[in-house]
Amino acid sequence: MIMAEPVTRKARKPPEDQTSALPPEPTPEEDLVRHARRGDLTAYDELVRRYQERIYATIYHMTSNHEDANDLAQEAFIKAFHALKSFKGGSSFYTWVYRIAVNKTINFLKQRKNKAQLSLDDLDFHAEHDPDLVALVSDKTPRRDVSLAELQEKLNIAMQKLSEPHRLVVTLHDVQGLSHEEIAKIMECNIGTVRSRLFYARQQLQAYLSDYLK
């Protein structure tokens, strides 16, 4: 493999008069991609670090299984590295690697179909203080005895009942906050399809979770 001049994680040094105040500028994504294409693993490591949390989260919300998400996220990044030469730069690296991860996950889920097993990540400390969630688990909730952990499990079970494209749209939009346009690029479909899938998926979820919604 051709080894290019490595990209150091510490980015360009700012001028002397600004060194104390400003954080180092991150290396532009295009530069990292160019170096990674030539086999520079330091550059690719930086790319992985930039997107690992979002890619992991998407796969995790699709599978509701930490171990599967871990394997698939790593495999997606490995596959992306090997396919870098075919990356034309028509979209951002971020969209492109997202697409790889999503396709890999959907293929995996099609094979797994009948043996879905939940292996949920723990809720972080902030969940109990989230005003929206506090409101949901308040006295006004139809199920007064529900805990956040139980709600989490019910929510994940309901998500797993959706078809993969519908679950993906809900994950990307309602959980991860991506725009319709970004989702359309990742899913390689038009925005109208994204909107209709989102509407249908929400309807389905609302029906599955009606006991837990006001």
Binding site: H82, A83, N107, L123, A127, D130, Q152, D174, Q206, K214
Partner: protein, 163 residues
């Protein structure tokens, strides 16, 4: 006039969206991402040192139609089975149709008469040709001593006159 949408983004789904916010609080074990990228790089390096097992994957990735085809086969074993049966059927049909209609049965050609007839046909053109005489030798030159026991070998030569 109020603008209405076919797929309202927020109407009726506020509670659901709040509930979905719970998923944002699901986090992998602490420190999980500290080693994530390192694991990816180690696996890439391990793959490069080993057999190039990703060649097929790369080929599949670079030819999207092939990837879609492979995915369809993986997702639907019935389709893969049907394809296999179709391929076997085509192979069998090819073999059957490639046999000539008037071909003799395989064992009949092994009969003594058939073998004799075949041998006659094969040498007919040379022995009975009206041109140059045919030279039958034992394949050795006159001065050869290439026998098994070191004895000098005598060249035998038969010459048949042409017609």
């Amino acid at each position: 006039m109020t603008k209405t949408s076919m797929y309202p983004d927020s109407e009726n789904f506020d509670s659901l969206r709040r509930l979905l916010g719970l998923k944002r609080h699901e986090q992998p074990p602490p420190g999980y991402f500290h080693h994530f990228s390192r694991n990816v790089i180690v696996r890439i390096q391990a793959g490069e040192r080993g057999v190039d097992s990703t060649s097929l994957e790369r080929l599949l990735w670079e030819a999207p139609w092939l990837q879609r085809f492979w995915t369809a086969l993986e997702a639907k074993p019935v389709l893969a089975g049907a394809l296999g049966v179709a391929a076997c059927a085509m192979l069998l049909a090819g073999i059957i149709y490639s046999l000539p209609d008037n071909a003799p049965a395989p064992y009949s050609s092994a009969s003594p008469q058939a073998m004799l007839l075949s041998a006659q046909r094969s040498i007919q053109g040379s022995i009975f040709s009206p041109d140059a005489p045919v030279d039958f030798t034992n394949g050795l030159s006159g001065d050869s001593t290439g026998s098994l026991f070191g004895q000098p070998v005598k060249q035998i030569k038969y010459i048949l006159p042409g017609n």
